[in-house]
Amino acid sequence: MNRAVVIGGGLHGLSTALHLARTPGWQVTVLERRHVGRHSSGVNAGGVRRLGRDVREIALSAVAFEMWSNIVALVGDDCGFQPGGQVKVAENEAELRKLEGRAAQVRDLGWTHEEVVDQAEVRRLLPAIAPHVVGALVCRGDGSADPMRTVMAFRRAAQEAGAAIVEGSGVTAIERSAAGTLRVVTEEASYEAERVANCAGAWATRIARMAGEEIPCGVKASMMIVTERLPHFCTPTVGPTGRPLSFKQTAVGTVVIGGGHQGLNDPERETSTVLFGSLAHAARIAGELFPCVKGARIMRSWTGTEARTPDEIPVIGESRTMPGLFHSFGYSGHGFQLSPAAGAAVAELMARGATNLPVAPFTQARFDA
């Protein structure tokens, strides 16, 4: 029996553990410093989005989309996934032309999921949208899921597949043992393993450093606010083209407003703080796009800490200083949708050293230049 340790009990760690635990011959242990889904995995906006992806991410996102479409088969729960669509609206003709350019670019790469629609179709998709919106880029199968429910579904599925999940267990060192295996050391115990995955999110560069490897990657803390429940008026997840905002109405009627506005981040203390100034900006844009939310009341605000790479796409691949250690982090605030596919790819890399899944663009070699 081969042994694997996954460092980090976020969604990517759990997905990696799930896929590897289902691979015959592998015994998997997840080490989570706090508790499963503590940071961005549990509190993100739950966007299941192919729309507007970096072109290097489209292929993996497309694989993930197939898995989301049948997520029950993967984890035994629908994760609250609602394929209500994702819509990027154009607020003027110039933005609409920009969206047309993007659609053409994606089409030229052989993908058909992004589609430009006219004003009438936007109105049909979004009856409550402000009248100045002239068109949109739409991805109809996309939507959103419930992040905490997703984390718990992956956790349960990983455990049922035989993975052990140890919470409250922070990694302090990674060494190569005399026998040639890897040894992952925590304050309480140490774990021998043939393969180790680094899925430690905002703290993954520290794990890399334990293996003597320096990977350029910072952190981010995207903020979100949620309103009180409103009558249903919007099914898709919506964002404008020229301004920072993400907007969705949940199944219970609350409206979640985000859009990458950054809070105050303190990775040392593992906390992040909401800064209302820039959130107010997002809220104002929300009111301009959806006049009916003006006057709705804010109930809560929050942030979650996440890793951000210089080019905002993840690092996936084997360590160059410690073979047997595989990195999977730096999803830069849009890793939620990718998690089923990324976990499958990393598990394959760990189990057989190669994968047919499209993760080649994400090796750290891209930072060498």
Binding site: M152, E228, F276, A286, G287, A296, M299
Partner: protein, 452 residues
């Protein structure tokens, strides 16, 4: 120096009084349209009932506090109808909102939080029916508006407010159909020695109970509420007496309350650490006897800093202001300080006895039926919370993330304490071990910015 005082109840009034005496002109923020706090809440303009009719035995105190309040308003930056919804400790800024819309940001060098308290409730089947309110709510309806919650109400809970509110209704012509006290006479009697630390208040409590019985109001001690019954409105209370006999008492309204809990969300956002007080069964912000917190520049006074009642709040408000003045090398009245310290020490002993005399019925919360609605904002039952306790929800914030308990309008201010009991019981741990919900801005819902 820029000093801000949040709250214009008994603590806030006495704090501002001392600050103004020392020559400061504080900014004074009050969420309600006028000061006085919940205990001395003033009727709307144009109401003509006299102090005696509104405040009863407290009329003198109310009159004096209101007089001071009025004298202070022109001597500070008085901002009524203003909610402080966020504190940014590092920059020492308050985010405020006035009259439900106007936003402002206010810089401060020192801050006194006098944020008061709210009723502690216990969810029972039917508690969300129209006609069910808190003891405090029932009292304010009578005090401020001159209306009752019903013609034949039932009062359930424990503590001094239970008997007082019931008596006020009896006097106002709406005699309660039943006063149900979950505490036994024995528990109260055992705390009696400590209650002598404030003999007048203790005697007043006994007098109220006697007066209630004289008026023919049924008072059941050591009793258990089972359910509030009715279709679309309150029609009856089903309950069990100390001998486990079941009764159904017809009624048209229910007021419930088991003591108070501090409204300490702003202290939380300010970064003040909290500790669990086993006697009062509440999480309290840390402060010294004078009201200083471990966060420089932040002071606490009144029920928001730990339940003490209106008399204590007046003392503590003045004391916190003196501490602030001393810490900033401003002249403080040393004779007054000595007097306040002595009074506060005595009152603390009385309060401890009072908490022992009227304990929160944690056992009832712990054995709440699975089907009982626990979080009314998000419609989560006790059973649903127990289910997540079994699956990783071993801590209050975790359980909130997994179950949505405390995610709604009240942000856990209502359901938080009973939810913590349910969770602790499901996990088999003491309630303090499951922690408390972290504060998140806004402390109360506020309209989206840019709203029409």
């Amino acid at each position: 120096m820029k000093v801000a005082v949040v709250g214009a109840g008994p603590a806030g009034v006495r704090a501002v009084e001392q600050l103004v005496r020392a020559g400061l002109e504080p900014t004074w923020l009050e969420e309600s349209p006028d000061g006085g706090g919940r205990i001395y809440q003033r009727p709307p303009a144009g109401f003509r009932r006299g102090y005696r009719a509104i405040y009863g035995a407290d009329a003198g105190r109310a009159r004096r506090l209101h007089a001071t309040l009025e004298a202070l308003k022109p001597r500070c930056d008085w901002r009524p109808d203003t909610l402080v919804w966020n504190i940014r400790t590092r920059e020492r800024l308050l985010d405020t909102q006035t009259a439900g819309r106007r936003r402002d940001t206010l810089a401060y060098d020192a801050l006194i939080l006098c944020t008061g308290a709210m009723d502690r409730i216990l969810p029972i089947p039917g508690w969300t029916l129209p006609g069910v309110t808190t003891l405090g709510g029932a009292q304010i309806a009578l005090k401020a508006q001159g209306v009752g919650i019903g013609a034949r109400p039932v009062f359930i809970g424990t503590g001094p407010l239970l008997v007082l509110a019931a008596l006020q209704y009896a006097k106002a012509g709406a005699p309660p159909a039943l006063v149900l006290d979950t505490t036994s006479f024995l528990t109260k009697a055992m705390a009696a020695a400590g209650l002598l630390w404030n003999l007048p208040t203790f005697l007043r409590g006994l007098r109220y109970t006697a007066a209630l019985r004289m008026k023919g109001v049924a008072v059941a001690e050591d009793a258990t509420p089972i359910a509030i019954e009715g279709e679309g409105k309150v029609m009856a209370l089903r309950w069990r007496d100390s001998g486990w006999r079941e009764h159904v008492t017809p009624c048209d309204a229910v007021a419930m309350g088991w003591g108070l809990k501090p409204e300490a969300q702003l202290a939380d956002l300010a970064g003040v650490p909290f500790r669990f007080d086993a006697t009062g069964h509440n999480w309290l912000p840390e402060r010294d006897a004078a009201g200083r917190t471990p966060v420089p520049g932040v002071y606490l006074a009144g029920d928001g800093a730990g339940i003490g009642g209106a008399e204590v709040a007046e003392l503590a408000g003045a004391r916190a202001a003196l501490a602030l003045l001393e810490d900033h090398a401003l002249p403080a009245d040393l004779a007054l300080r000595a007097h306040l310290d002595g009074r506060l020490r005595t009152e603390a002993r009385f309060r401890a006895a009072l908490e022992r005399a009227f304990p929160y019925p944690a056992h009832l919360a712990r054995r709440m039926e699975d089907a009982t609605l626990l979080c009314r904002c998000e419609a989560i039952t006790a059973g649903e919370l127990r289910a997540v306790a079994r699956y990783g929800g071993s801590e209050a914030n975790r359980a909130k993330a997994l179950s949505r308990v405390g995610m709604g309008r009240c942000q856990g201010r209502v359901c938080g304490p009973p939810a913590a009991e349910v969770l602790a019981a499901a996990l088999g741990v003491p309630v303090e071990q499951v922690g408390r919900l972290r504060g998140q801005p806004p402390v109360k819902p506020i309209p989206l910015p840019g709203a029409a």
